[in-house]
Structure formats: C-alpha cells, structure tokens
Symmetry: C3
Subunit: 332 residues, 3 copies
C-alpha cells in the first residue's frame, strides 16, 4: 500500500485530489476499483475516464479536467506508469532449498530443487532436479515437472500438468516505455501466469507473466518446444501449438485451434475457435472464421527464387503498367 501523495512524489506528478488515499495496486482503466490506480494515455479513453471507478488516474495535462476521480498529472503518462510498476512489484527473496512454509502434501521433490515461500504443491506431483519455484506459486495434483524448470513468483498451475526441462513460466513481459531520449524503461509486470488443468508444456518454452492482469493458458492446451508466449496472451481450451511459434502480447487464441510450427502471431489480435494456421505462417490480423490458413513463400531452387523475387518486388509496377483494375475483377 502506498498513499497517492507518496506515489505523486515517486513519479514527480501534480496531484489533484486526496493525498492520503491508500492505493493497493494498479489496474486497467475499465476494471480499476476504488483503491486502485490506473492510467490513460490518450483521448480515445476519455469516456472511460469520466466513468471510471478507479481511486486515481495518471493523465497528462490535456485530460486532467476530464478525470472523474483523483488525478496524477504528468508529461509522459506511459513512462510514469512504467516507473510506478516497480513500486508495486513483489520482491522475491532468494530461493534456497525448500522454504519451511511450503505445503507439499504428498508431492515428491528431487533433493535439489528449490521452492520459495508459501508455495502449495498438490498430491502426487513430482518436481525434478534443479527446478526453481518462486514464492506464492500454486501447483495442482498429479503434475510432472521436469528438471531445470523455472517457475516464477505467483504462478498458478492446475492438475495433470506436464512440464518439460528448461521451461520458464512467469518471466517478465517485454514491455518498455521510451523516454524523450529514446531510452527504454522497463515495466515491472504485476500480473501472473495462470495455467488450467491437463496442460503440456514443451522443452525450453517461455511464458511471460501479464502486465496488470494474467497471462492465461486454458485447460487441455498442448504447447510444444521453444514456444514464446508473451504477456497477457490468452490461449483457449484444447488448443495445440507446435514448436518455435511465437505469440506477441495481448493476443487471444480461441478453443481447439491448431497452430503450426514457427508461426508468428502479432500482438493485440483475436483468433476465433477452430482455426488451423499452417507452419511458418504470419498472422497479422484477426481471424474471425474457422478454417485453415497459410502464408509462406514457396521454396524454389535459389536461381529460380532470384528471378521470382526480383519480379515480386516490382509487382505493383507491373500491375500499374498493365493497368489492371482488380477491383473490377471481384466475383469474376
């Protein structure tokens, strides 16, 4: 808990409102409650600003009069938010052996794994050698967690999880605010990773924690090796994702999807249920219809490719030269 006064000082903000208000945590503008602090980066969110239930909002000069609650006025809202996240970050102490507070039930631990404070581990779960589990993590029953795994602070894992060596769960998301000198300031990620039941996670796959809310892997999901799941991603029930795929921040994938290997999915997208994306495709817009999607350049002999690629980069000029109006061709 920090008072608004302390927070204003920490981010060098002008405080309009109650400096004694105790802030418990940070939250998004649309979910923030009376003891929470949020932020608004541009005018697009003006309506939400007028109706927010947040205890206070970080805004810039131009929005300070639209704020229905306590306001912290700064020049660069996102940068101030980035700095503030560090004030609310849980401080993890070193994990040295198994902490006295750990509830192990009848789980089976290798002698040399390291488990932090207030961790709860379910029945018949096994934890492999050199695996590190930080404070406040909850792991369900009948899980098999292999060697050299890192499960960071506050992660929640359901029953029957199978986690391969080298997996990292709960690493910091790749969120940074840039200052006027074009230097990066990391956002401390305050959300967690929440994993449902019956989830398999392949070797060296990484799942980042959420910024303010949680990264979610729903029940029945299958993740292959070397996959990257960024902050705030949500993966729906029974979706399977093949190796080397990367999913950028805040993207949501539906249920029963099959995502091929080395697919790249850009951030802030939505993919509906029952979608198949073939290997190596790039998803750069929402997918709203079930079905199979592909997007790769065909493999050719190098010589052939040189010719094709050369003309490919001139396709717009070719069309212009031929003066084809494709708009007229629709339906033909």
């Amino acid at each position: 808990m920090h008072t608004l006064g302390e927070i204003a000082k920490f981010i060098n903000a002008e405080l309009i409102g109650d400096s004694e208000l105790e802030i418990s945590s940070l939250a998004a503008i649309n979910t923030a409650q009376s003891t929470q602090l949020s932020y608004v980066v541009n005018n697009k969110y003006k309506d939400q600003l007028l109706n927010t239930k947040a205890g206070a909002i970080i805004v810039n000069e131009s929005l300070k009069n639209s704020c229905a609650t306590n306001a912290l006025v700064v020049q660069d809202v996102y940068l101030a938010f980035a700095k503030l996240t560090h004030l609310f970050k849980y401080k993890v102490a070193h994990v040295n052996g198994v902490h006295a507070s750990v509830k192990i039930n009848n789980a089976s631990l290798a002698l040399n794994c390291h488990i932090g404070k207030n961790v709860i581990i379910g029945n018949n779960t096994t934890i492999g050698a050199n695996t590190v589990i930080e404070d406040n993590t909850i792991i369900g029953d009948n899980c098999i967690i292999s060697a050299n795994v890192s499960i960071l602070q506050g992660s929640k894992i359901g029953n029957q999880a199978v986690i391969a060596p080298g997996v990292v769960i709960g690493s910091e998301g790749f969120g940074n605010a840039r200052d006027q000198n074009k230097q990066w300031h990391s956002i401390a990620h305050l959300g967690n990773v929440v994993i449902g039941d019956n989830v398999n996670i392949g070797a060296n796959t990484c799942i980042d924690r959420g910024t303010l809310e949680d990264t979610q892997i729903h029940s029945g999901v299958r993740l292959d090796n070397l996959i990257h799941i960024a902050h705030n991603v949500i993966i729906g029930k029974d979706t399977a994702i093949a190796a080397c795929t990367g999913i950028a921040g805040s993207t949501q994938i539906g249920k029963r999807c099959m995502i091929g290997g080395m697919v790249g999915i850009v951030g802030h997208l939505s993919i509906c249920d029952n979608v198949i994306v073939n290997a190596k495709g790039t998803v750069d817009k929402n997918i709203t219809s079930p079905g199979m999607y592909t997007g790769i350049m065909p493999l050719m002999s190098h010589k052939k490719w040189q010719n094709v690629a050369m003309w490919l980069t001139k396709l717009d000029k070719i069309i212009k030269y031929l003066d084809i109006k494709l708009k007229n061709l629709k339906g033909k």
Copy 2:
C-alpha cells in the same frame, strides 16, 4: 511385460486371441515381432496386417477380420494406442546427486550435477554444474557437457560430443491423439535419442525422443543454438544446421546438408544428401536433388510491401483476367 488380457482391459478393447500372451513392448507394424504389440489406423495398411509378425494388433471393427494375429478391437485405434504408451513408459525416479550405480570411468563431474541409475560416462568426459542426466543414459569418451543441461532417460551419446548450456535431449515428442470431444491425449514416447560421434549441440537446443523408435543425430553433425528437433527425426552425417531452425516429426535429412537459420521443415519429409537450404526458407515437400534452395519474401520498405502484398494476394485473379495459360509456357 503385460499380458494381452491386461492390455485389453486397460484400453477397453475386445480381445480376439490369446489373453495370456506376454507383450514386451510396442512397435511399428512393419518391425513388430512376436512379443510386440502394434496398431493399424486405416485400410491402407491392410496388406501389412495380413503379413505382420506382431504378437497382436490394435484395429478397429472394420479390420478385425484381416488380422493375421491376435487382435485388440477398439473404436479409436490411435487414441487407444496413445493411452497404452503410458503403460510401457519407463518410470524415472528422481535424480539426487550421483547414483551409486553410475559408471564414471575417469570422467570429471562438477560436484553439483545429478546422474541417475545405470548411467555410463566415458573417459575424459566432463559434466558441468547443475546438469541432470537421467537413468540408463550412455555418454562416450572426451565429451564436454556444459552447465544446466538436461539429458533424459535412455539417451545415447557418442564420443567427442560438445553440448552447450541449456540443451535438452530426450524430451517427450509432441504427439497427441484427439478424442471425440476434441481433447488431446498425450502419447508417451518410448523411443530414445541416439547421437553419433563428434556432434556439437548449441545452447538451448531441444531434441525430442522418438515415439517407438529413436530420434537419430548421426556422427559429425553440427547443431547451432535454439534448434528444435522433433520425434523420430533422422539427421545424416556431417550435416550442419544453423540457429532457430525447427524440424518437424519423422523428417529425414541426408548427409552433408547445410540448413540455414530459422528454416522450418515440415514433418514426414525426406531431404537428400548435399542440400543447402538458405536461411528462413520453409521446406514443405521432399527435396530429391542436391543444390541450393531458397524461399523468402524479400524485405521492402513497409509502404512498398503494402502495395506488393495487396497485389500478391490477388495474383490468381490477375492471371485469370489476363488469361495466361502457363502450362503452355513451359520450356519457352
């Protein structure tokens, strides 16, 4: 060993044949012997079914009369097989320090690596800190195995291997059967990873074990960092593969190939000897001639790309409009 009767009960199958027959292991239909159990998912394999030497076969109703040996009849053969793999999976106990049965010769181990039962380690081999080596693994002479490596149950590694930190060898393959509710059931992988002599494996690279047979990395192979090698892959002698490449299941790569970085190779393919695939290409069919292959979209200014990509997605319509019969153009 399990009797056919026990197995029928485990997968809820109708047994036609000898319930007392002892089954030692699972095997593919074309290699299975008299104490082994196999499965056939569709009519394509009917001939093999008539000639198999397997002790028993899992089949569906429509194939049960074509089976030259004991039959286990189920509705969903692949799902039954998936469940059955778990019955034959070797159970790894925790690795805590160096097991008394380990044969170390004059290998040099960091104090804090962990080595399971019946492991054999060759002369002059060094094993780094926090490395975990599970039961029944065999490692040759003069190997350098770095820190934080995970080598799982039953792996075989030849002489002169150099293995970088974070490597995972022998992780479960990404094989799952889907039930009628579209939920995934993992296949327990019963094969191993077998690595020849003089192989280098880069940091955080993952090599999955085979389903029934072994994933094979032949002598002289060079693997860079963050590579994914799926179950049942075979990589031929003296082939070099650059970083971030992924090779999907059951693909075979020939000798002396050079596979560039971030190449994706889809499953069940065959690539002949002396093939070069340039960086970032996607191999989605067999390669039967030596030579250099490429398949990337050229990089352009974003604005230019927007134009080119727009026309690219209409290429089929453009051709139709122009009414070009490319088939007639061959050889011109």
Copy 3:
C-alpha cells in the same frame, strides 16, 4: 604462450621465419600485433598481408612470398586456423559452489549458485538459484540475474542488467571449418561477450561469444525471450529486439532500432540507426536508410494460398510471356 615452432608442429605447417617467437594470442589480420598470429584465406587480403604488424601469418603456398612477417604455410588455411584456436582456448575448470577468489562486494547470492575463479560481482547485484557463472566474469552493480542462468568464461556485464531464467551468455559460436572429406572442425571461440549498462535479456535467449574479438551488446538494449545472437554481432545502444529473432554472425545493428519478433537477419550485414523491421521479416542485405521495413507473405485461406503460390512460382515466366520490361517502368 606458444612458440611459432610449437604452433607449426601443431598444425603441421612449413615455418618460414623465427621458430622461437612467442605467440600470445590469435587476432584478425588488420588488428594483429607483434606477438599475435593471424591468417589470410585468399588473395583479396594480399595488401593487408604486405602491411601487417602480426608476429606471424598462416597462409597457403600461393601467398607465402607476399608475407611481410613470419609465415606458417599450410594447404587449408581456415582448417589450420580452426585447429589452432583450441591451443589458445582458456580451459575452464568445474564450477563447484562459490570459488574462494570471487569478489562479491555486497551482492546477494542464492545458496546454490556456482561461481568460478576470479569472478567479480558488483554491489546490490542478486544471483538466483542454480545459476552458473564461469571464471573471469565481471558483473556490475544493481544487476538482477535470475535462476538457471549460464554465464560462461570471461563475460563482462555492466550495471543494472536484468537477466531472465535460462539465458546463456558466452556459448561457443557456430564456426566450423570443413575439411576435404566434408567433415566439420569446430573453431574454439576466443572472444567474449561484452554487455553494457541497463540491458535486459529475456528468458532462454542465447548470446554466443566472439571468434577472436567480442560479441557486443551496447547499453540500454532490450532483448526479449528466445533470441539468438551469434558470434561477433554488435547491437547498438537502445535497440530493442522482440522474441524469437535470430541474428547471424558478424552482423552489426545500429542504435535505437526496433526489430520485431521472429525476424531473421543474415550474417555479415550492417543495419543503420533508427531502423524498424516488422515481425517475421528477413533481412538479407544491408539497410542504409532509417525507416520501417517489412517482408512477409500475407496469410490467406489455405485454398487461396495454393492458387496464389502456384502462380507466384511462375512469376518469371509470366513476365517473360508478357514481355514487360520493368527497367523501362522506373519512375512511371
């Protein structure tokens, strides 16, 4: 230190010059000094050979008379160089707990991390569980180094570094010389990894050490998860790189660039300051102008893609058939 005589024997070279000269290390032809040994693979470097300050040079028969200094004459220069690197490689002993020579200042170490000889760790730095740090590494103040990290021999890391679990720093580069039997001989990498201040490195990212000089990550850089940085790469100040990207050997990236996820950048390239490469693009030539670059195949329904891809591979024939001279179209 090895005498030229010893070295000639080790690589089976004809020595023209002073067999007693003590060689301290290997270096590139343009930087080598009087106690250093270099090599020249082809006639392109003949001028440098005439003007070198190196103590000696490995050359082939055709260049031996152009050599202004001591010469080691061999058939295959690069292969001889590859073999020789192993003679000059620092031999790392096992890291077992915290070596007595480590200078920890008031850093905070988990009980079970392992730190080699002559390591220096700065004030307020924390090192997580199961992290391994090899000899001669220097780490600055206020760093947060997580669990299961591997930092290999001779790495230098500035202040305020944040390093996620599973990161590997200082692994061997992917450099190999091929002999006449097409077998690979690894080059022992003698350079280090040097990282500036205020750098973040995401989970399971790998940074290889340089061949003769250092791989460099300049201050303020942000690296996401599962990134591959090859030997001799230089990444400029305040550049941010998203997850799953791979950068091949000896490429230099400027300041304040933003490289998207799963981008592939081929080796020996130069990218200027302030470049944005969108996700999944392939950089296969130098980028000399700031701006935003893209190169992906658009995602389509699979059926649509099959049509488009078929015509795409015939684009050269279509153009030939249409007899379009695009050169004439420039500027239109």
